[in-house]
Symmetry: none
Subunit: 404 residues, 2 copies
Amino acid sequence: MQQEVLRTLITNNDSKIIYLIMDGLGGLPHELGGKTELETANTPNMNKLAAEGILGLLDPIGYGITPGSGPAHLALFGYDPVEDNVGRGILSALGVDFPVTEKDVCARLNFCTIDTAGNVTDRRAGRIPTDLNEKLCKKLQESISLSDDIEFFMRTESEHRALLVIRGEGLGGNINDTDSQKTGVPSLIAEGKDESSKKTAKYVNEFLVKAKEVLRDDHPANFILARGFAKNEPLLTMEERFGIKCAAIAQYPMYRGLARLVGMDVLPRPETYDAMYEQLAENYDAYDFFFIHFKKTDSYGEDGNFEAKVKVIEEVDNWVKKLDQLNPEVLVITGDHSTPAVMKSHSWHPVPALLHCRNGFGRIDHTSSFGEVQCGQGGLGRMLMKNIILEALASAERIMKFGA
Amino acid sequence: MQQEVLRTLITNNDSKIIYLIMDGLGGLPHELGGKTELETANTPNMNKLAAEGILGLLDPIGYGITPGSGPAHLALFGYDPVEDNVGRGILSALGVDFPVTEKDVCARLNFCTIDTAGNVTDRRAGRIPTDLNEKLCKKLQESISLSDDIEFFMRTESEHRALLVIRGEGLGGNINDTDSQKTGVPSLIAEGKDESSKKTAKYVNEFLVKAKEVLRDDHPANFILARGFAKNEPLLTMEERFGIKCAAIAQYPMYRGLARLVGMDVLPRPETYDAMYEQLAENYDAYDFFFIHFKKTDSYGEDGNFEAKVKVIEEVDNWVKKLDQLNPEVLVITGDHSTPAVMKSHSWHPVPALLHCRNGFGRIDHTSSFGEVQCGQGGLGRMLMKNIILEALASAERIMKFGA
């Protein structure tokens, strides 16, 4: 449904919607015919909700497409994960909690190794340790100043990865990567594809020339490759689109940043799962919608640690029980994408999803436990992830009738 | 997802994808509450794959739309069956194995009967026998020559059906049907809708005037109706779109032609099902993707022969077992459309589909036999046919991550 039509139908009330997101929740069986992580986990509380609610499968982007965290979360929040996709540089800034302004162009950097002829010999400089990265960022920040009062900021991500932000008036972000993704050749010169981006490219090249000079005696990290130049193109906020005041409860910078991108209030970083619940309870009256993000399901999936992923799901199941005290009208439990431990990576498999309503306006199905196979038989069906917000909003009676 | 985005995500590896297509596979029960052809068939091998894999239902074009073989196969191959649809004239050419060039405009002909006033009295000339059709085609080919060195070719299809190809430089295919689909009125004059098509129309009309003269003493086939004028608009090949080298193993010209349209190598015509397997085994290392086409399920469906269609499915089930020897990473078993024996025709019903992975990266569902009812409960869900290629490519780890 066109966004313009939807917006005319949005209404407000006192209902609460909770999105409980286990990152990388979807999985695969250990062996042919076996059970997935979610199916293996002992989840009496989510199973009760499954019996009372309705299940389905969500495709983050489309059939067969494996998403990164950026587009997957945008889909969860009801945005188009391709059209509204966020540039790599912006994601790097979000990942280190850098407060991006409208004057900023962001890029993801690699420290790299070049030989005396200037050819790249290692695109990751042997994956230097993070503390060396921090020292080099500090040295570059202190040694370099750019012409015309243009500011720049460097931030360490981890190992060879860093963030570069160029700040100034009228800077565009439409610039090629200087990383050619190849070795044995020099890195590329930055070129802007429009007037304002040409301006930025000039300062990027100035920065790179000076950085090469500053790093000339360092080894193996003696130069820098840049990619994913991007400005922050502001999206309509969730409040503007859906009329809901949103709060994010998340421990990891990237997800806190993604929530900020869509206009959520991001509550102070909670140290523990208990602290996450306390934040929710304390702020319960002040917001309509809560995005609650659990990261470890994805981390253990990426590690290939099936058992640890199962354990985290069981911890979250315990956490879920406490929601009885708050009695939210609408609860969605799902993930942003699948991260099967057997693959040690994100995957294309659709994500199990549970929709539970306590206001009497939720359909049910015949399912009685939360898992991939049951979700495949669920009454929600298989749907694009960006549409689950509409089911949640409607269940909360926040979408009015279309047409007479 | 936009085709441009997908193309940037395609990658290559050693995996094999097999598409086993039973033409017109989908069916209906003999009587209310009974079993379909596929459900009636004894298919222990496909049932085993169903238990190990995942089922779903594929809509070739959209809800309620009955497809012809052309669009249905394009959908199987991942093309849009409406946008990329192939003109009727081109399908006729494929059906008789005519090698279409870029100079050709093709049309489907009917031999028809006209009265002395020139009005059409029978659009099919009493369905003349095929050997008479052949004689008439030969007579027309030998008697007529067109002005300006324009060439033409006639080929018999069957009964009253034939192919006309007009060949020359700069000929367009945007021409109305001369068949008005009515009797009691004259056939229509060909008119081109653009400059190059006006040029073609001139030769078409010249051909028709001369044909009327040549056939004046024949009866009942004393004239010709033409429809579906089309040039061959080359499609991007499957290799260009998906990075896979494709081979087709098929007995019937139309399907061999459709495979050629999307850039597959078409292996020599196999006489038997055993020969089809031998071709597959012999060429297994040389290709990434195999399209294997079994025709008889459709033919018996069109004949209304429920039992014979069941038998063919059982023969194919036997054939399927041999695939264990090749151990392909990804196997898709489905049809191009439904041809229920009780309807004696193609139908709109979505087509049962089975996806089976031997690399450990396939989801399963609770289904354990291959049939329409089970497919309706399968974990793949109900999807547009053009998307099944994406599930197959992803399962073969041939699509990279989108976004960071």
